[in-house]
Every structure is written in structure tokens, then in C-alpha cells.
Symmetry: C2
Subunit: 313 residues, 2 copies
């Protein structure tokens, strides 16, 4: 019998599992070639504007495959609805039977994206962080901080957003998470004074100048997941000592790497290789590292399975 659960139950289940560890385990399987992850399915709507991503895949020899539908309709806010919507479904690999329908309203995608950001910070951020720079004021900007709490000691945040009112609301929420937040109107100042930068916007052009990023900084970009989106200056990827992709194939199509065609191959590696210890990741305190996260179906698989384990029967 297929089990169907809604957000309250999902949220309680998440509290019982280590999501970041599960996501890292997923990246390791992905980068070791154990996953079957076909290209992302996509539906685009014009009126009102919206986009739907359908991600699906499995790890060979495991129990489940996953299908995830996640959409962004940016006019939803006017209707009092979250822009993100969708669901995740686990099916049995051996028989095709649906096991679990997670009516998550798109939130597990937010959670697993934030968990990937925390994994990137755990693996790549410098040991000393005086300030975390956050670009964007949406749900992802909130969740990144919520997950970062468990992997970095720094509690000082420089926050930038396009809209001052939304930035003020964001700053208030981030303070409730235990952070000391400064609202900053100059994006270059955020980039210059932060040693861990996380960009969470739907920008189509660089948010700050490449030269503002100081040596020893780690930058994670999670906003770009579609061709045409870009948050980081392509020169930053060009001067970085190491660029880490969640999926090289996908980042070349949809990520920051897609906007940096001159990036040399020998400075690019997958997050799963770093998580597995197959690549050393950051090797000096002065290195500039960039993580380009576009979202891979194996994250959906891992978080859905984590929820399944966390559910109380």
C-alpha cells in the first residue's frame, strides 16, 4: 500500500535524520558513477510564468528509485502561495510499486539544496570565518543559514537583497536563528568582507565583482539551475583555485560553469569526489574555492529515503 504523507509529518521525520550526511553520501554515489540520473525534464509556462523540473533516478542495486516534480511560479506570492510546489515519490526498483508519496509542496527540494550548501561549506570553507555573506532573501537564504549552523561556528552574517523591505524581514528571521545580522546595501562589500559566501538568487548576471572576493574565501552558488541564470562573475571561476560542481555534466548546462566556458578542466572536480576523500578539496587557507550547485536527483532520492526512515509508523 502506497503511503502518502503531508508536510507536518515530513518535517517531523526530517528532525530525526542527519540530512547533510545523507546528501553527502548521495554525492559520493553520484560521483562514483553508481547512479542513473537522466537529463532533467522541463516544462515552461508563459502566462503566468513558471517552470517545472522533473528529476528522476536511482543508485544501482539499492531499494528505490525517485521521481521528483518541483516547480517555481514566481507570481504565486501575489496569491498568498509559496512559489515552490511539487512532490517526491519513491518507487521500489525491483517491482515499480510506489512506496511513498511525499506531498512536500516543493519544500524537500529547498531542504536538500540547503543541505548541499552545508555539505559544500563543511568540505570547502576556510577554517576561520569572520562573516557569512548571504545574497538573496527567500526561503533558500533562510534554510542555508539554518543548515550552516551545524557545520560552521561563525554567527555573523552580512546580508544583501535587492528589496530593502524583504531584506529587513530576512534579517529579522536570521536573527531568530541565532545569527548577528547586518543588512548591507552594497553587494561588493558583502563579497569583500565574507569568507563564506552563499548566493541564493534567480539572478541573470553577476551579483558582485570578481576582484572583491578575498583570498581564502569559499563561495557557494545555488541559484542557477536553468540556462540563462547566473549569480557569480565568470572571472571568479576563472581565478578560483578549485571549482566544485554537484554534477559536472549538469553544471556545464545549467550552472555557473555554463557561464564560464574558459574555465580550465584541471581546476574542476565534483563534490562527491571531495566528500569521498578522492580529492583533497581546499588545500590552503588562502585558496579561493567555488561550489556550483544545480541540484541532482540523487539528492532527492537521499532526502526522500531519509524521510521514509524518519517516519514513525
Amino acid at each position: 500500500m502506497t503511503r502518502v504523507v503531508r508536510w507536518d509529518e515530513i518535517d517531523s521525520a526530517l528532525a530525526r535524520v542527519d540530512v547533510v550526511a545523507e546528501i553527502e553520501r548521495g554525492f559520493v554515489a553520484y560521483s562514483r558513477g553508481e547512479c542513473v540520473v537522466p537529463p532533467v525534464g522541463e516544462l515552461i509556462f508563459d502566462e503566468p510564468p513558471g517552470e517545472v523540473h522533473i528529476k528522476y533516478g536511482y543508485v544501482r542495486g539499492e531499494e528505490h528509485y525517485v521521481v521528483k516534480v518541483a516547480s517555481g511560479f514566481y507570481g504565486n506570492a501575489k496569491l498568498g502561495l509559496p512559489s515552490g510546489q511539487g512532490m517526491m515519490i519513491l518507487f521500489r526498483q525491483a517491482t515499480g510499486e510506489p512506496v511513498l508519496v511525499l506531498l512536500d509542496e516543493g519544500r524537500l527540494t529547498d531542504e536538500r539544496t540547503a543541505a548541499a550548501g552545508a555539505a559544500a561549506a563543511r568540505l570547502l570553507a576556510p577554517p576561520e570565518i569572520e562573516a557569512i555573506g548571504i545574497f538573496g532573501t527567500g526561503i533558500q537564504a533562510r534554510l542555508q543559514l539554518a543548515y550552516l549552523r551545524d557545520v560552521v561556528a561563525c554567527r555573523r552574517v552580512l546580508a544583501w537583497g535587492r528589496n530593502a523591505d524583504r531584506l529587513a524581514v530576512y534579517a529579522r528571521d536570521a536573527r531568530e536563528l541565532g545569527f548577528d545580522v547586518e543588512e548591507v546595501s552594497d553587494p561588493d562589500r558583502v563579497a569583500r568582507e565574507s569568507q563564506l559566501i552563499v548566493t541564493t538568487t534567480a539572478a541573470k548576471a553577476a551579483l558582485f565583482g570578481s576582484d572583491t572576493v578575498q583570498r581564502g574565501t569559499h563561495v557557494t552558488a545555488v541559484g542557477s539551475d536553468t540556462p540563462g541564470k547566473q549569480e557569480l562573475p565568470s572571472q571568479l571561476l576563472g581565478r578560483a583555485d578549485l571549482v566544485v560542481a554537484d554534477s559536472l555534466a549538469q553544471c556545464r548546462e545549467r550552472g555557473e560553469i555554463a557561464s564560464a566556458p574558459e574555465l580550465s578542466e584541471d581546476r574542476v572536480v565534483e563534490l562527491g569526489h571531495v566528500a569521498a576523500g578522492d580529492h583533497p578539496g581546499r588545500t590552503t587557507n588562502t585558496a579561493v574555492t567555488v561550489a556550483d550547485l544545480t541540484g541532482v536527483a540523487v539528492q532527492d532520492l537521499r532526502i526522500a529515503e531519509a524521510v521514509l526512515r524518519g517516519l514513525i509508523d
Copy 2:
């Protein structure tokens, strides 16, 4: 609030709507270019062998988009499970909100496929049918007859199957549907003596000889939905007066048309063009017509919406 319904409710809802008319309406929209139907997503499993198809799409300007997951795991029978599994989901085009999850165990795919067969027969079969020839003994062979009851007067069936025991069970079930069924071991005899032939197998080579098909016959093939499958002799498509595809683009990849590369373009048309009256379809009693049905997401959309309308609140 997303509504989730299981098969009993779905089955009752189907009885309250005209599924064949809905499917025809879907084909019309598809062939008029009103649909957005991206290529089928696919997952293949080796041990145990199985395949998953993910179909999704929408008609521009309508209310919903659909995502359908349907799988075939042919070892399920040994476990006492149906080989088909899956679900259909309707989402709101304007916001992305999931409206309806149909836990149909793959059965709506069977229903909409059978309804497409009935539509093809309604539009293309000759006026006089002495016998319906059915190839295959599975669920689709049963459903094709169930749906044909409403569109053709003929009640005589010549049935062929690879396995005599399964053929006997099929014949018994078909008699319960009100048909006079003869079990036939020679596939060429079924083809020769039937004016409406429906093939519903997973064959990888032609089931009967091209020359056995008499003038005035209509043949519908529903089994081939993946490259490598083939039920009809390619020569039959070569000599047919008209070949009708549910989706030309898809049939060239996955259908009988994929196995008949020499078929000339001027004798191929889409079912939606015939259903809309934009193409006359069968014009003489002696024409040989072939329908190549591979399954299109717009059928999933139409049957899911039909269920939504048929549900009693």
C-alpha cells in the same frame, strides 16, 4: 489541498465519463500543435528487468499539466503483482499546485491506451467487420475488447497468443465481455480472416505475414512503445493506403513506423488530424489502414482530467 485517490474510486469515476471522446479530443489538441509534450523520460533496470516511462505535458491555456509514471516489470507476475505500476498526477498550470494524485497502479495507462484503440477503430475500421483479430492475452488485449464494444457492432473474435493456457483464460474472459471467441494457433489465419486487427504484445518481430492481411482491413498496433519492439511486418506499412500515428515524432522513434523506414511520408498522418476531420481517414472499403499507437502524454492528461470530473466529492 491535494486530493489522493486509489483505484476503486478511480474506476467508479471512469464509469461516469466518455473516455474515448476525451482521448479523441486530446489527440485533436495534440495534432493541432496546442500541446507541449517533451520527449518521454525513461529509466531502465536490469535486475530484475524493468522499464519506467515518465510522460508529462499540457495543453496551452488549459487548467492542468500532467505527470505520469508508468512502469513494466515483467517478473512481477511471479510475485503475484501486476507488471504495470505507476501513478498520474494533475498540477495546476497557473501555480504548480498538485491537485490530484491518482494511485492507479498503472491502470489508467492501460485504459487510455485501450481508449485510443477504440478511437482508431471508430475512425478507421471498415464498416463491415466479420471478425476482430486480437494478438496477445494480457490486460491490454482484454481492455481493447471492452472499449471496442462501444464502437463496433462485431462480436466475433479470433484470438491468438503465444501461450495456449493463457489464451484459454483470455478467451474465457473475452466471452464474459459478450464476445464469441475462437482460440486460433495460426497467427496468419487470424490476420487473414479479421477486418479489424489489434496487436497488444511485447513482440520484437512481426507477428504475421504482410500478405495475409486482406484488402479492407484496419490494423491497430499498441504494443510497441520502445525502440526495438515491433509487432507488424514493415511491408504491411509499406503497402497500407494510410498509416495513422498517435504522434508522428514519437512513432518514428518508438513505434511500428520506426521499423518501416521506407514508408513514404504522404501516406502517414496523425490520428488527431483524422479525429478533427482535417484528414478524411479511410476513404474506400478496400483500403488497408494501420494505426501506430505509442502513447502520448495528452492521453494521460485527458484521462486524468476525466477522472477528476467523474469523482464524486
